[in-house]
């Protein structure tokens, strides 16, 4: 529990899977009056009452009914109520803001800024990238003191994920990370690291801080400035880059299809499209960030459903240069197999109406598209179809020897998630979960590695094509 008086623990009792808190503890903390009469428990605070009935999950809060996940239970002489009692019953009648964060077991009393903070570390060649998300959006400042950097948040306290940083597989440039009360995180780095560069980036409700850390400089110290060279220059296995100053590819959005209740296609062996798509999307992020040093955004990084419009909105709002949606297919016939790449298609009528008086500029065969400005947002892809097809062709070429392709590996179709993407966009079906052999293949490490490597190679080629003038 976190309040004006600082942090203090509140005892919880676990009954079954449900966390309970003792009503008399709450009464003492929040100055509540508790009365038991006629088989009901009445909790009052400044003239407002909550009526609880034993063995009933419904409770009355100032005359309105609310439901609790479990009924109040008696333990000896004490009454136990589910922890949700605090947010659902007590918060509505209490005169101070109460916020219960169940996953972090935190109860915030009062209007305090307590961002939830989580971190992630990715190796980018010899360099490293530390990504720190603060939700709700909270600004922070980064400072360096020897071999450690300190990130100080603009808040009252921190709600820190446990563990703050998932365990690392060495070698990592981060040797330790810990919280310094009340609002700072200290990151210990390897001795004599080569400098860092921090950039904040708002994402929906989250403020993402990206700290790029350069590896220690082993030869004579050529770079004395505390800023790291751009990761794209430090990555080792990159093919020679043409004209380094121009960075035509900065951000890529990877969309893991479906999620949450929307499980997508399902295999006979139990594989779900939503899980497969997320696993592959995460691998793509790691691979592309490491190989190309560009920013990769995932439309979802956990198991939840996101409306199709929000997926492209994330890409559009972050000015992504490429949108790749990852899916797995299904067929009414079990023998169908192979990967396919989809590019958006538009009916002639739709394309014409989207041109709004400039139908000759619809991207059927390209050219002079820049001056079309009045394209409905949900048809933004119309301007990019040609470039999307060019990327699809590169993908198909890279998949050819590494990823089993379907008999129709390149398709055009009116796909909802691609239509509003305001950048080149493709949807990739990895293969068929309805085919038991394919299900086994797609969920395996060998296939996923080969797929991700081929896709990364295609992105490298795509970037080269842009650097060589491309068709942009």
């Amino acid at each position: 529990m976190l309040s004006r008086d600082g942090r203090r623990p509140l005892a919880l009792a676990l009954v079954g899977d449900q966390e309970f808190v003792a009503l008399d503890d709450l009464a003492a903390t929040f100055q509540l009056a508790v009365q038991e009469s006629l088989g009901a428990v009445t909790v009052s605070y400044k003239g407002k009452t909550i009526v609880l009935t034993p063995d009933q999950t419904l409770a009355s809060v100032a005359g309105r009914l609310i439901s609790l996940p479990a009924p109040p239970t008696r333990q000896g002489r004490r009454w136990l109520v589910p922890v949700e009692f605090i947010s659902r019953a007590l918060a509505p009648i209490y005169d101070t803001h109460l916020e219960l964060r169940k996953p972090s077991r935190l109860l915030i009393v009062g209007d305090y800024r307590v961002p939830r903070v989580g971190a992630r570390y990715d190796a980018v060649g010899p360099a490293g990238r530390l990504t720190i998300d603060a939700t709700p959006r909270t600004n922070s400042t980064v400072s360096q003191d020897g071999d450690r950097i300190t990130i100080r948040f603009d808040g009252d306290a921190l709600d820190v994920a446990s563990p703050l940083l998932p365990p690392q597989t060495p070698p990592s440039l981060v040797t330790g990370i810990h919280v310094v009360e009340p609002v700072a995180i200290v990151v210990d780095l390897v001795p004599h690291f080569g400098g860092f560069k921090a950039a904040a980036q708002p994402l929906e409700n989250t403020m993402r801080l990206i700290v790029d850390i350069a590896p220690p400089v082993q030869t004579e110290p050529a770079a004395t400035a505390p800023t790291a060279p751009p990761p794209s220059v430090t990555t080792p296995e990159l093919p020679p880059s043409f004209g380094a100053p121009a960075i035509p590819l900065r951000t890529i959005t990877i969309d893991a299809g479906h999620g949450g209740e929307d499980e997508g296609a399902k295999g006979a062996g139990g594989a779900k499209e939503k899980d497969l798509a997320l696993a592959v999307a995460r691998r793509i992020r790691t691979a592309i960030e490491a190989r190309l040093g560009v920013r990769v955004l995932l439309t979802r990084d956990d198991d939840r459903n996101i409306p199709l419009d929000e997926r492209t909105a994330l890409a559009n709002n972050n000015k992504a240069d490429l949108f790749v949606s990852i899916h797995a297919n299904a067929s009414m016939r079990k023998t169908v197999s192979g990967a396919a790449i989809f590019v958006a298609a538009f009916d002639k009528d739709t394309a014409r109406s989207a041109g709004l008086g400039a139908p000759e500029r619809v991207p059927a065969f390209g050219g002079g598209l820049r001056d079309i400005e009045m394209i409905p947002w949900d048809l933004a892809q119309i301007r990019h179809v040609q470039q999307s097809s060019a990327f699809a062709t590169l993908l198909q070429a890279q998949f050819r020897d590494h990823v089993p392709l379907s008999a129709h590996p390149a398709e055009l179709a009116p796909l909802r998630v691609l239509e509003s993407a305001n950048m080149p966009a493709v949807l990739i079906e990895l293969g068929y979960l309805s085919n038991p052999e394919q299900e086994k293949l797609l969920t395996g490490d060998a296939f996923q590695s080969a797929f991700v490597q081929a896709l990364t190679e295609a992105v490298v080629r795509y970037r080269e094509s842009l650097q060589n003038g491309g068709t942009r």
Partner: protein, 203 residues
């Protein structure tokens, strides 16, 4: 006075006959249902068919999943004749969504039934199907494309007056069936997902 009554009566009679002509005779003559009308139940699937010689049949092309599972294949079938485009569209879709036996495979999920068909003057058809087409759909982009274009193509192929089709589910517009194909606008016939060889006759 009597002349005035006569004039009034004459005007009334003219108005009445115009009304009858406009709202009774002409619609019957053209065999049309009222205009574009998602939400109207005029052409509900259970309504009695328009008067037609019993047993009269026409040949239509229905669409099923091809042997390789990747495309639709056209199959010629005899289906009941329907008076006018709405009734004919209904007969076609009823035949299309009906359960099939081996070796045919339908891209329409089992249990899906037609609720209603509407056809507008602009040649757009609205096909209202039961929600089984969503709840029983196995997912997958290709599967969903085959499901959608089974309905779109079976109507546009057999009723040349209809140029585009919008699918409704349980009377409502939907964004997609299974998360992929955009159903917010009427779709035109698409032969890219149809097998190239000529139609097969299995009657």
């Amino acid at each position: 006075m009597s002349a005035r009554v006569l004039v009034t009566t004459a005007i009334g009679a003219a108005a009445l006959s115009l009304f009858v002509l406009l709202f009774v005779v002409l619609p019957r003559y053209y065999g049309r249902q009222p205009q574009r009308a998602p939400g109207m139940t005029a052409a509900a699937a259970s309504a009695p068919a328009a008067p037609a010689p019993p047993g009269r049949k026409i040949k239509a092309h229905l669409y099923y999943v091809s042997e390789d599972g990747m495309r639709l294949t056209r199959v010629e079938r005899d289906i009941p004749y329907g008076e006018g485009s709405v009734d004919q569209a209904r007969e076609i879709v009823v035949a299309q969504v009906a359960a099939v036996v081996d070796p045919l495979v339908s891209a329409i999920p089992a249990g899906t039934v037609l609720r209603a068909v509407f056809v507008t003057d602009k040649g757009e058809a609205f096909v209202d199907l039961s929600k089984d087409i969503v709840t029983a759909h196995p997912g997958g982009t290709l599967n969903e494309l085959l499901t959608v274009y089974t309905i779109v193509n079976v109507i546009t192929d057999n009723l040349p007056a209809v140029t585009s089709v919008q699918l409704l589910v349980d009377g409502k517009e939907v964004e997609t069936l299974a998360g992929h194909v955009d159903l917010r606008r009427p779709l035109t016939k698409n032969t890219a997902f149809v097998e190239e060889q000529g139609s097969k006759s299995e009657n």
